[in-house]
Subunit: 319 residues, 2 copies
Amino acid sequence: MPRLTAGVDLGGTKIQTVVLGQRKIVGSSRALTPATGADAVITAIAETITTSISAAGASPADLVAVGIGSPGTIDTRRGTVSNSPNVPGFESAPVPLGPAVSKALGGVEVRLDNDVRVAVRGEWKRGAGRPYRDFLGVFVGTGVGGGLVLEGHLREGRGAAGEIGHTTVKDRGRKCGCGRLGCVEAYAGRARMEATARRWHKAGRRTRLFDIMRARHRDRITSGVIAAALDKRDAMTVELIEEAVWALSIGLANAQNLLDMEAIIIGGGLGDRLGAAFVERIRAATMPRLHVPERPPQFLPTELRDLSGAVGAAVLAGG
Amino acid sequence: MPRLTAGVDLGGTKIQTVVLGQRKIVGSSRALTPATGADAVITAIAETITTSISAAGASPADLVAVGIGSPGTIDTRRGTVSNSPNVPGFESAPVPLGPAVSKALGGVEVRLDNDVRVAVRGEWKRGAGRPYRDFLGVFVGTGVGGGLVLEGHLREGRGAAGEIGHTTVKDRGRKCGCGRLGCVEAYAGRARMEATARRWHKAGRRTRLFDIMRARHRDRITSGVIAAALDKRDAMTVELIEEAVWALSIGLANAQNLLDMEAIIIGGGLGDRLGAAFVERIRAATMPRLHVPERPPQFLPTELRDLSGAVGAAVLAGG
């Protein structure tokens, strides 16, 4: 058996794990994120890794390293995660996630990084970003995350680079989850789109979004619910998506005018779900806003889709 | 005599030249940009260089290289300038500025770059940017130019990086010189501020701007005219500067949220003229818009002021 590396994409809802051997996905596993605290999350992560190794027909002894992408504030040296409000047990004080997963797997090396940065790394090294030295990765999901590869380096800044979702597209505009007004995420993030839909619905506007949500036994407006409502030409959903495209077009044009990049790669839960047609709408809306329209960036969907993060985490671990 | 390098900042109004010896300014010269065509501009550039060398008490034989910063599209390899609407003779087809200046000076090496990029280089290597590996230089003058140093490299992108002046701060906002609407430059560039003042004045609003302009025998609202009107608390000027600060605060916060830089350095004709108080107003307006307000960038005025470009051009030439 070749040397294996595991990559883990830790999210508030699910844990997605892949195992790579010779740069290929040879096993994978997915689990719901336990709601009972950090110890349960650590155990679940270790289990998805051993399950993925079994699925690859390999033995735990073949595993040489693990990479984990996590939301929140990451101390890459210590392997800790803090300030991650959506992952049970990781909300505030630092949790030594790296050392704990290492211990659960018999001492294997574990590397940690921010969830968005590992997803950018995945697309850069194994996905749509392979041809480029310069691109912006935009992940349109519950929120809107972003990461930059500039001149062949993943940009970190002082730890907080890439926040395209929190660039302002409308001064004193719609309230964002970050507390400020008029951010890209306030219009294009699924959570804020849902909050807006609920407000409009309460004010008497009609929509099929909540019927579709209930029919699918969901308690929130998932990307699948939005896609289904769009298919049915639900007017409110059409308007919400128009606003998302508008906000993204301003944010992306501003980033392009400042950085003159080769490509913009669009993924995330909602971005993947709406796919190439969504990317094309964003491209068409961004074009008139470019300062050098004769040399636009390529607009591309992700290639790895919902595995960008897990594959990128495995790449972080040397896979 | 030590080896000398000359740096030339070519503008639509004036040519500013410095001569460096052992990294210090040993001579300088300034001339109005001839209005009669490219040949006259080339001759004037060569004259400012020989004048600066004489002022340094040196001989033309001591000159080892020349750097020139020019507006427009620069082919650094061929040494040509094109599409530079404000420099007579350089409006459209490529002019071989580098080879022509070299010939006029007996074959000395000449390097060319974009005017904004050489100004960023000047502040980076010899000015306020010295302590930083990451900063945005913003030049608030007739227009609003910008340049980025990221991880110790001057960012070029595909030749057009740094256009902070053409990031959108208000969708469908005020008309910009670039033809689009709502750019930073539409509010913070001197030319667009003047156009706005003329429009408001024509519509019946009172201002002392044009009286001050005429008293100073000017035919346009210079940075000095704006500063004088501000000192007299002219209400229209106060409003124009408030709008400039507002537009800059959105553009700069967006750049900072995307890139997480160490510093933002503000210069240019108007920026230098209004000085530290203007930089402080921009800082105060930008702070509430930062995604990581606990770790803001430093906000600094330029150190070299109106010599950023000429010094940067000399640095480009190895000085």
